[in-house]
Amino acid sequence: MTAPKKRGMQTVVLNQPPVLTSWAAVVGPKEGEGPWASDFDWVLDDYNFGEKTWELAESKLMRETIKLAISKGNYQEEDIEVMLAGDLLNQIIATSFAAREFKMPLLGLYGACSTMAEALAVAAMLIDGGYFLKAVASACSHHHTAERQFRFPTEQGVQKTPSSQWTATASGAVVLDALGIGPRVTSITLGRVIDMGQTDASDMGSAMAPAAVHTIKTHFQDLQRPNDYYDLIVTGDLGKVGMALAEQLFVKDGLVPRPNYSDCGVLLFDHNQGVDSGGSGCGCSAAMLCGPLLKKMHEGQINRLLLVATGALMSPVSQFQGETIPAIAHAVAIENI
């Protein structure tokens, strides 16, 4: 016996697809200098956001983004029944601290940089399952909190490698509603953890590309869809290196003709912003989705979008212990129907 809404190995379809009724994206100063500044709701002037620590600044970033998404949809805070969110910090404190000022229940999630897709997926399933009518999904990251947790103190004079990525200071939030007008989440492919033996912590793209391609391939197989079904398939934060690898893997795995494909990490910054391989972090795919991508869907320039947010599931401890980097990618299909 298979579950009525499950298709193939890892995919579910939503019978009454939840609607993305409103969304908001807030980004840091560097992201505001990139190509999408006018598509974000708010570009911060500085990294502190009026708080005394970067962790609190990150937390405020998420809180304000969620508030903005709620108010943009003409909702009241009390209307939202559950919040699904996550970030990169230990014990996801940015999320928990953001939620302590809301009255809605919280389901905290950790999928590294794949969190936005994970949050969307769980929120959509909860709504389609009939458990809630309205939910908010969010993810955020902050450059300085991530640097100090995963790498070096920020004032340390270290040289970056060309494959390294810049953790975005960014946050995105979406309100999902059982009823309403807007693009809808129609199907979801949950990702498997894939480890291809990569160990270089300054090259996440190479670690995550196989997971992204595996999820995309499984999505097409499970739903028996042609490769050109989507107007755009966008991965989370593979960066230039990971994106180049993914394109090679598409060919290797028989995804020919190649789907219309891009990557949020490559898109988020201009190439002259000194970000090496591109952007990364939970906020990278969250802000790209809730900024430019959903705007383009709203305007009808994109009608079928597959968001494949990717996460590298390592920690500083596992790195020092010499472990390889496991990666995950969740795919969420968003369509104008």
């Binding site: 920020t154 004032e155 970056k160 060309p162 033996g197």
Partner: protein, 153 residues
Amino acid sequence: MNATDKLHKIEIEEYEQLVKTVKPKPAVFVHCIWAFVVGGFICVIAQYMVNYMIMAGMSKQDAFTSTSVIMIFLGALLTGLGIYDEIGAKAGAGSIVPITGFANSIVAAAMEFKREGYVFGVGARIFSVAGPTLLFGFVVSVLIGLIKVFMNS
């Protein structure tokens, strides 16, 4: 090892080859030139200080010690002003190897963890980057000291 494990191992090796072809190589030659110029510049400044102090009548030993102290101060100051990390991003080893780089690694950690307080933040983590250099520096100094003792006896 069973068949699936073997297959997975081959897959990983194949992928490793693919990564090698795609991954950009660091511009080693350019980095070396930057490191040489910036590292050399730091050393030239220090050498001028030593020469000046000796000319001014200081003993050689004192001149070296004072210069180290001044260079450490300058490294710390530039870190505090947020300049040293900009230099380091370009110069790499050129700004890490001199004593100013050592000062940078300690001050950067101190600044970073100040928000966790003076005991569990600064106190506990100030040497989180410089710690290994200190520890193994001490170990080597003890070993050299022991060698000297045996040679003299």
